[in-house]
Subunit: 157 residues, 2 copies
């Protein structure tokens, strides 16, 4: 093991699975911290692995780096995060996951009925025609869940 439990860039990349460029990028964005050796090379505390793991997990849940940073900033920098810390943060995830799940389920079910009636080709389909209200007496996008809907001026996924 290294001096005083400090990790090199190589160790971090091997153990986190992230590329060095990504690790540097996260540091530049303030998601992780790194000390420097006398020669200017990065040395990481062990806890950086946990942070990187958290980053990947959160990214998998669909959070942007900005959101992830916001959550990480709530973690105590000094003490080891407690179970309560993690639990608090996970509530965000759970809520987002639940939303995504329900949204997808609604979309899937609506898709079934759309296929059943072939209405994807018509003006009155909620999935495909959220904006054609002018052309028809369509009830609009009632079926398309907010979290999934992409309005005309799209934002990134």
């Amino acid at each position: 093991m290294n001096k005083h439990d400090l990790l090199t860039m190589g160790e971090v990349t091997r153990r986190s699975g992230y590329a060095a460029s990504a690790v540097r990028y996260y540091e530049s964005q303030g998601l992780i911290r790194a000390e420097r050796s006398s020669g200017g090379q990065r040395t990481f505390e062990r806890s950086v692995l946990r942070r990187l793991a958290f980053i990947r997990a959160a990214a998998n849940v669909g959070l942007s780096l900005e959101e992830i940073k916001a959550e990480l900033d709530c973690l105590p920098g000094d003490r080891t995060p407690t179970k309560a810390d993690w639990a608090r943060m996970s509530r965000h995830w759970r809520r987002r996951l639940e939303e995504q799940i329900h949204a997808l389920e609604r979309l899937r079910d609506n898709l079934d009925s759309c296929i059943g009636c072939g209405c994807l080709s018509l003006q009155r389909c909620g999935i495909s025609n959220p904006n054609d209200a002018a052309a028809e007496q369509s009830s609009g996008a009632a079926y398309l869940p907010k979290v999934l809907r992409r309005e005309p001026p799209r934002r990134r996924a």
Copy 2:
């Protein structure tokens, strides 16, 4: 109604909800077709509205434009798509939606147990440590569903 059922750009943008720039972009990418007037202005067939509706719906399901184009390319250019056409294409969607749903559910449930044991901080958590096999006898990313996992060289969401 216009001559021979042809739509102008303005009508298409109003009825599809897409910006003109987006419509032009889709044309440039071969997702939709447009005729030209004598003066060079676009005229669209009615069916472009259906295509645009399809594009939005598919995008909402998470398909990339490339994938959407691939699906649209399977549609018969000549005849009006049949119910069978739509049904075939919707199978892709359904499969993808089901995958996403199950992936999120597994992630959510795993998150619960992770929080329960506080293991997000340890090496043996499947959610957070898909790549730390070298450091521990970890069973790896068994819990993290493929569709959600972001491997080190990430691709876009």
